[in-house]
């Protein structure tokens, strides 16, 4: 990394942010499904769900909805990266005196900006629907930190998909299982209401610890060990995804 690398990443991030500003529908469509799920779960299904916790159901399920927002948003990152490869503009950047890492970092930073914008929209709708939290500034920052880490980890997964995809559909298909994971977690119903094996899976997959941590932060309750389990998962996914992304990036130059 050098001064040039930072400058190049800034210029290239500016470029892909311009793509998003010019087609804001990607941010909106990222937010539409989570908002629809919010409405469905709060106004249709929520009445029958007993979480056994204080507070309204929307307070309970918003953390899961935020993770779904990000999981669907990163598909666009894979898509944008794939289009850059297809159009040859990626090769153009690579054959220029541009720090090579900055080409990928630009997509990662753009992904962060776009997903945080979608998350902000979803939180805004949730507030209108009655979501309330007395979380302190520190707790909000902790939530933001978890969401940023989650977005970054999943974005590097998206980079792998974007680099290795053969078709546009393939570039975004990887995100579907990620969008479904929150449903088999404590995001919408307590895991103890699930049958044994499913409950075991739900309790041992990353989404549950992340959701529980965010929920506790919003509810001003102690986060227990959940936060460490969550951070462990996120850092592990981030390191693995980053490693594989860089490896498949290098393989292109083989």
């Amino acid at each position: 990394m050098s001064i040039h690398a930072l400058g190049d990443a800034r210029v290239l991030t500016g470029r892909s942010l311009r793509h998003i500003v010019r087609s804001p529908d990607t941010i909106i469509t990222t937010a539409v499904t989570p908002v629809a799920l919010l409405l469905l779960f709060v106004y249709v299904l929520g009445g029958a769900i007993r979480t056994g916790e204080h507070g309204s159901y929307i307070d309970y399920m918003l953390p899961g909805i935020l993770l779904i927002t990000i999981a669907s948003g990163i598909a666009y990152t894979a898509y944008r990266l794939f289009l850059d490869l297809q159009s040859g503009i990626f090769d153009r950047f690579q054959s220029m005196p541009v720090a090579r890492s900055s080409v990928l970092w630009a997509h990662v930073l753009t992904s962060l900006a776009a997903n945080l914008a979608s998350v902000a929209i979803v939180i805004g709708v949730a507030l209108l629907m009655g979501f309330r939290t007395g979380a302190s500034l520190a707790a909000w920052l902790a939530v933001a930190g978890i969401l940023i880490l989650f977005t970054t980890a999943l974005t590097w997964l998206a980079v792998i998909a974007g680099l290795s995809a053969k078709t546009v559909d393939g570039a975004s298909a990887f995100s579907y299982p990620l969008i479904l994971l929150p449903f088999i977690s404590s995001a919408f119903v307590p895991t103890r209401s699930m049958p044994g094996p499913v409950a075991w899976f739900a309790e041992h997959q990353p989404v549950t610890s992340i959701v529980d941590s965010i929920r506790a932060l919003f509810a001003q309750q102690p986060v227990h060990d959940d936060i460490w389990v969550a951070l462990g998962w996120l850092v592990a996914i981030l390191v693995l995804a980053y490693g594989f992304a860089i490896a498949s990036y290098r393989r292109r130059l083989g």
């Binding site: 040039h4 400058g7 190049d8 210029v11 290239l12 470029r15 311009r18 793509h19 010019r22 087609s23 159009s87 040859g88 503009i89 090769d91 153009r92 950047f93 690579q94 054959s95 220029m96 005196p97 541009v98 130059l253 083989g254």
Partner: protein
Amino acid sequence: MSAGAAVVTRGIEKSFKGVPVLRGVDLDVDAGSIFALLGSNGAGKTTLVRILSTLLKADAGTAEVNGADVASRSAEVRESISLTGQFAAVDDVLTGRENLVLVARLRHLPDPRGIADELLARFALTEAANRRAGTYSGGMRRRLDIAMSLIGDPPVVFLDEPTTGLDPQARAEVWATVEQLAGRGTTVLLTTQYLDEAEQLADRIAILHEGRILVSGTLAELKRLLPVATVEYVEKQPSLEEVFLALVSGTPDGGRSPGPIPSRKEPR
């Protein structure tokens, strides 16, 4: 290598999944010349250009561009080259001007806007400057693409099939641009599958076939490889291309042509 060589390769080999594409390519391109690499589809032209522009590593052999080895001093090579790929690599979402400013910034040049304005004028894109490149015609996209490649005046320019998919008019524009470039002392290595393109533009021509250079030389040298021509008298008919250009010239797409249609090149 001689002082006047811009590109030198020795024994370049490259296989993909065990299938050899390049089987030992030796190439010498003089600085300031137009060198045409002629070959049919699948001959390995693009693979060679990708190796020379540091996008791909060779399995064996050495290649130097502007005096720097492409493998060990790739950053220096990237300082001195530009690549125009088979498909116009422009950002469709950005305007023509923004595309040029982007490349000028990435090349760390002062006054990116001034550079963009100058190139827009030179490539007859000023009127379309603030439209998204996605709305451009094929010829305009190619002009923008080449304009982006010329930012920073790289001494060596690789053009990979620059006229594939272009109509005759746009093709003539590209030819004029290539001649202008060589006139300024830029080395141009272009690949093509069109024989007339190589004949029209190139100082030297190499024929790449099944991963090897079959022959390399000036057009006159290549012609001597075949038996002496017998003189026959045939009626001169205008070619379809001549008819087409005569009928449609004066109404080019989206702007004027950057120069006259090049006539046959004089040996330099």
